[in-house]
């Protein structure tokens, strides 16, 4: 761990040294986005490793690393750099959900679909109701500065927001178009995998870059496109989605590190601190909703009470998809969304900090990890896999 800390220090010193050659805010060529990209990837990876040693989630490390390096704290990353990295961010969103879609095999889940459905929907419905009431009550309490919050605004949903007085049609076109484009993309990807079968990772990235770039022009949402494409590959084509996941795996580590680092850097710390109390309360409401809802759902599904008690721990962690959705919220042109986005980010950060720890504790108590004997022991050091497995909602 000391070596990681030293290397992180060396990187910070190197970038700080380079930044000292120019006055703050000044650039000679471009915004320095390439510098920010390399720096965030390396710094986030080392922070993730340090957090791993401290038995904390990698993703929390990535987020905190971005927060510390960002314009609000150390200022090593500027707003212009972060703005220029928005394309990479959109590609990362597409990749996260594509991988999530490729891992969701409905056929494999079918025998347990009713029980899973009742447990999950019970938890989600109660959590949604509690959070809806909470956000409804909390909205007037948000600090006025929150209305100016986040530098993420207006990167997604360009043109959406009802400026033409037909918001519902706009929304339907946006969502429907994204789903259709995603289905097409999924078919194209499965065709490529089955016919060509080489350099799949590169092909996936080329597709995601195209979607990320063209999506702005034709109002496509990379999140919906990627998720639909992944679901189509895994469930509606002869191609095995795990192959796509495996082939893209080498590139996912830097992309995730960059994405979460940038998201962390974009969080406005003052708004975040101002809303810390509300964020903790929202996280508690959500957890309560899961506990109550899974009790109801579990009873309806006839699941063993011991299992029902442990299931909510697996639902608490949040990560990629939730952050991507919060990012969309921040990009919406609605004033209430601008105010709510920092609160949602804060809630996710709280869940991300506490969730994996609780999840691991539940796994240890269930005897699936740690010292207890178990029927099917898992590798002892699987925090990251659990964490990534929890990336879908």
């Amino acid at each position: 761990m000391i070596r990681d800390v030293v290397l992180l220090g060396v990187l910070v010193a190197l970038v700080r040294g380079a930044r000292s050659f120019l006055p703050p805010g000044a650039t000679v060529t471009g915004s320095g986005a390439a510098l920010a990209m390399g720096f965030v990837v390396l710094a986030a990876l080392y922070t993730g490793r340090i957090f791993h040693r401290l038995r904390l989630p990698h993703l929390t490390g990535f987020l905190l690393c971005g927060m510390v390096l960002g314009p609000q704290v150390s200022g090593l990353l500027t707003d212009a750099m972060l703005h220029d990295l928005s394309l990479v961010k959109r590609v990362a969103v597409g990749l996260i959900v594509l991988v999530a879609g490729c891992e969701l095999n409905v056929r494999a889940l079918r025998p347990r679909l009713r029980r899973i459905g009742l447990l999950a929907s019970g938890g989600m419905v109660v959590a949604w109701l509690l959070l809806f009431v909470f956000f409804w009550l909390a909205l007037p309490m948000l600090p006025p500065t929150a209305l100016l919050a986040t530098s993420l605004a207006a990167t997604a949903f360009p043109g959406f927001g009802g400026s033409d007085g037909n918001a519902l049609v706009g929304l339907a076109t946006h969502l429907g178009g994204s789903v259709v484009a995603g289905a097409g993309l999924g078919l194209l990807l499965s065709l490529y995998v089955s016919r060509v079968g080489r350099r799949i990772g590169l092909f996936v990235f080329a597709l995601l870059f195209t979607v990320a770039e063209a999506g702005i022009a034709i109002h496509l949402d990379p999140l919906l496109v990627g998720l639909t494409a992944g679901l189509v590959v895994e469930n509606a084509s002869p191609v095995d989605g795990s192959r796509v996941v495996r082939e893209t795996e080498p590139a996912t580590v830097p992309v995730f590190a960059l994405f979460f680092g940038v998201i962390g850097a974009e969080v406005h710390l003052d708004h975040f601190v101002a809303m810390a109390g509300l964020a903790v309360t929202a996280a508690m409401m959500r957890a309560t909703g899961f506990f109550v809802g899974t009790q109801v759902g579990g009873r309806l599904a006839g699941v063993e009470p011991l299992l029902v008690r442990r299931v909510p721990f697996g639902m608490i962690p949040q990560a990629g998809v939730a952050l991507a959705l919060a990012d969309l919220l921040a990009g919406s042109s609605q004033p209430w969304a601008q105010g709510l986005a920092p609160l949602v980010f804060g809630t996710i950060v709280v869940n991300e900090l506490v969730g994996p720890v609780l999840f691991r504790a539940a796994l240890v108590r269930a005897g699936e990890v740690g010292g207890r004997p178990a029927d099917e022991p898992l590798p002892p050091d699987d925090t990251e896999e659990r964490e990534l497995a929890s990336v879908p909602p």
């Binding site: 120019l22 320095g32 986005a33 830097p254």
Partner: protein
């Protein structure tokens, strides 16, 4: 001086970073991060990215990477997609519409072929054991990616809008690459046909 210092420092940092990789996926991520950081630092300080990265590469290649036997393979795996993306970017910059660009391309190509032809004849005269000049010139004329890379680096120094002379130079270099490829193939085929006839 700054160029050499930065290149050497980045080479040492790259060595330390890559030595700390624990698995191939992390090695790829660290390699990508190191390359982006090196190129980004050079660009930020308005230095030549290719030169800084080349210096860093020389330092990295000459420092021991114990237990990282798979590193050259990782490097190759990373290089190819990046190279394709690079060519794509250069293709996007290619504007064959301006007449000045075509004049520059013709001059560049002519000078390059003439220079290589002269060099081949001179080399054979000095070292008669070398292959015949017509054969030797076939190996000398094809153009590597470095010329394209240098022009692309010059374009990036101007952010998203390089000035017209740089765009003409990119055109000249791209035409040079394509034309020399065609010339070499034609020349090689002629040689083969002549050999068959003989």
């Amino acid at each position: 001086m700054l160029l050499c210092g930065l290149g050497t420092t980045l080479g040492v940092v790259a060595h330390l970073v890559l030595r700390s990789a624990r698995d191939p996926a992390e090695e790829t991520a660290l390699l990508l991060g190191t390359v982006a950081l090196s190129a980004g630092l050079a660009e930020y300080l308005a230095l030549s990215g290719p030169v800084v990265c080349a210096l860093a590469g020389v330092v990295l290649a000459n420092l021991p990477l114990h237990g990282r036997a798979a590193f050259p393979r990782t490097l190759r795996d990373v290089e190819r997609p990046l190279y394709l993306v690079f060519l794509l970017v250069v293709g996007a910059w290619w504007q064959p519409g301006a007449w000045q660009a075509w004049v520059l391309a013709a001059a560049y190509l002519g000078a390059r072929v003439a220079g290589k032809w002269l060099a081949a004849h001179l080399a054979v005269r000095l070292s008669p054991e070398l292959p015949a000049p017509n054969v030797l010139v076939r190996f000398l004329v094809p153009q590597g990616p470095v010329a394209v890379l240098v022009m692309a680096a010059a374009a990036t120094l101007h952010g998203g809008a390089p000035p017209a002379p740089i765009l003409w130079a990119i055109h000249a270099v791209v035409v040079g690459v394509l034309a020399t490829e065609v010339l070499v193939h034609v020349h090689r085929r002629r040689g083969l046909r002549a050999r068959e006839a003989a």
